[in-house]
């Protein structure tokens, strides 16, 4: 696909770098490279990839370009869903949500990981990571249910806070304008801790000699964080960006449950994913559903491409 040429280039760059450091075909590299187990080890994974990655994807492409009887439909399915009055609002909803969520994720996760890492007292740092991760156990429907309680002023633990913002009823809280932020908060609440742990691990992997050398050169903690730790986290931040973008375009369970709990104050076609679901299972139009899925796919791939090229995800070492 479009990703192949440039990532080849990225790897070539990386292996050139390696070559210059280690010399062409260092013994270690060669010894491992000769082993035939590569094929053996990747075959089961390759089979699963074909069954649940490639085949369904190609099937989606085929569906998107055919009509209900299997005849070639050209772009008909695409024009149909794009002209759907529910399409552009859904695009807007997901976009705003993604912007808020990704910004919050990158800013706070990296910040918190650096701060937690800077805490010198071991048990404090362990406790912090534990508490931050704890909500990670509640994902999917569970986390949305919990947030239904939090957002319902009649029972909410923060009803005082909601009241101070002038929100006295559940319906007031879930006004359309609030939803992207609400979904971003739910997603951040459940997901941020896992990434904080991963970033923390990456920080631990930065060799102490590098940090020590910087300190001897007179760098203070903030300078070390910004000039050394942050650049070395780049790959992980890019990784987080790609994964979160992929997950974010899938927005489904949050609006779905909120719609169910609010007697459709939140529409059941709020997100693109829901719209695709409506097409497939309410309108029995799998071709339309596939067209939406394909649009989502292309957009996610294009946006992720930026993260991949910027973050150097494919550089080894």
């Amino acid at each position: 696909m479009t990703l192949a040429p440039s990532s080849d280039r990225a790897t070539t760059d990386a292996s050139e770098g390696r070559r210059s450091r280690r010399g062409v075909g260092s013994p270690a590299r060669r010894a491992v490279a000769r082993s035939p187990i590569g094929y053996l080890f990747v075959t089961p994974y390759a089979l699963l990839t074909i069954a649940f990655g490639i085949v369904p994807s190609l099937y989606a492409v085929q569906l998107a370009f055919t009509d209900a009887d299997g005849g070639f439909a050209g772009l008909e399915n695409f024009t149909k869903v794009i002209d759907d009055f529910r399409f552009w609002p859904a695009v807007l909803h997901v976009t705003i949500y993604l912007v808020i969520w990704l910004l919050a994720l990158v800013f706070f996760v990296v910040g918190l990981a650096l701060m937690v890492h800077a805490v010198g007292v071991r048990w404090v740092s362990t406790t912090l990571r534990f508490v931050y991760y704890l909500p990670g156990a509640l994902a999917g429907a569970s986390s949305v249910l919990l947030w239904l309680f939090v957002l319902d002023p009649t029972a909410s633990p923060v009803s005082g806070l909601l009241g101070a913002m002038g929100l006295d009823s559940f319906v007031q809280v879930i006004q359309p304008g609030h939803l992207p932020a609400i979904f971003a908060i739910i997603a951040f609440w459940t997901g941020a801790g896992g990434w904080i742990i991963i970033m923390y691990g990456a920080l631990n992997n930065i060799s102490t000699e590098v940090i020590e050398a910087a300190r001897i050169d007179g760098a203070n903690a903030v300078q070390i964080a910004l000039r050394i730790q942050l650049p070395m986290l780049r790959k992980w931040v890019a990784y987080m960006g790609v994964m979160s973008l992929a997950a974010g375009t899938q927005l489904f369970v949050e609006p779905q449950l909120l719609s169910q709990a609010s007697n459709a104050v939140v529409p059941n076609d709020y997100s693109l994913n829901q719209l695709a679901y409506q097409y497939a299972f309410q309108q029995n139009d799998f071709n339309g559903a596939a067209a939406i899925s394909l649009i989502l796919l292309v957009v996610a791939l294009l946006l992720s491409w930026v993260f991949v090229t910027r973050g150097g995800l494919f550089e080894k070492e």
Binding site: L48, I54, P157, E317
Partner: protein, 300 residues
């Protein structure tokens, strides 16, 4: 040594004010992450009236907890028990396959050369980026055509395809395992397979735990896939079952007030029960998670 460098780092932090800002931020986020959970734990010990009237952080009583417990597990003749059993079957089944498949694959991608290696890597990333509808609906049709819809396999097999785990393993093996160690093992006479099982795998214990953990959590919490694949309530995992509970809760769905209706504290208890296994696994894996990504082969 560690203590010494820690001391130095702390003293070089930008002074008292800098440290207190960091402290405040860390505490604010503790509240943000913890308050809803603490509230939820207290909510299940209250009657539905006490939940609304009493202070949000006041404890309830054992009798109220027992009443909620009975209401939850009596719901639709013990549907909750069935759902939990289903979740366990799906999550553990997929977890086992995921580990058997992902760890060797990540190792091979990172440390061996073979044809199509680069293609498989790119493919892994691409597939990770594909939004779930793009796959769930076509997978639904694919499995429908082979007659698997409604069977446990219709969720277990797609869930065991876990490119995230492969990628995590790949990153770990390509960044944290020095090739010199593997080369040394080969010089000592290990076969390619032994290098993997005796050297790489033990070193990768933290990443195996991490992949297992993420896989289990993701499988257990998966909503959309089972929502589409499993038409009958008997086959629901608990996450999908929660929607049935929610639909029967008059507070969020006024039309549901009836004989089998669910009160708010019972719904809260359902939420806790739905995540209990993940919580337990989390407590057990915490040591791995903390040691987590840190273990490197040659470090110190």
């Amino acid at each position: 040594m560690a203590a010494l460098s820690t001391e130095r780092r702390r003293s070089s932090l930008s002074g008292w004010s800098g440290r207190s800002i960091i402290g405040v931020l860390l505490v604010v986020f503790i509240l943000f992450f913890a308050v809803p959970i603490v509230w939820l734990l207290l909510a299940v010990t209250k009657s539905s009236k006490a939940l609304v009237v009493d202070h949000p952080f006041s404890p309830g009583s054992w009798s109220a907890f027992a009443a909620n417990w009975h209401q939850l597990f009596d719901f639709q003749d013990g549907a909750v028990t069935t759902w939990i059993g289903n979740s366990a079957l799906y999550a553990i089944g997929a977890l086992v396959i995921t580990l058997l498949v992902s760890i060797p694959a990540g190792y091979a991608l990172a440390l061996t050369e073979f044809k199509l290696r680069q293609a498989l890597l790119v493919l892994t990333l691409v597939v990770m980026l594909i939004p779930s509808t793009a796959l769930v609906l076509p997978i639904f049709l694919e499995l429908n055509s082979v007659g698997l819809i409604g069977s446990p396999l219709s969720v277990i097999l797609p869930m065991s395809f876990f490119p995230f785990g492969v990628y995590l393993t790949y990153i770990y093996f390509s960044t944290s395992i020095p090739r010199d160690i593997l080369a040394a093992a080969r010089i000592d006479g290990c076969t390619g397979f032994q290098v993997f099982t005796r050297v790489a795998l033990p070193l990768a214990a933290p990443i195996v735990a991490l992949v297992a953990f993420f896989s289990f959590v993701q499988n257990w919490n998966n909503f959309f896939l089972p929502f589409v694949m499993l038409p009958s309530s008997d086959g629901y995992p608990i996450q999908v079952g929660l929607t049935s509970l929610l639909a029967a809760t008059p507070a969020f769905n006024p039309s549901s007030a009836g004989s089998d209706s669910v009160q708010l504290p019972t719904l809260a208890l359902g939420t806790i029960v739905s995540i209990l296994p993940v919580l337990i696994v989390f407590l057990f894996s915490q040591r791995f998670l903390v040691a987590g990504m840190t273990a490197g082969g040659t470090k110190e």
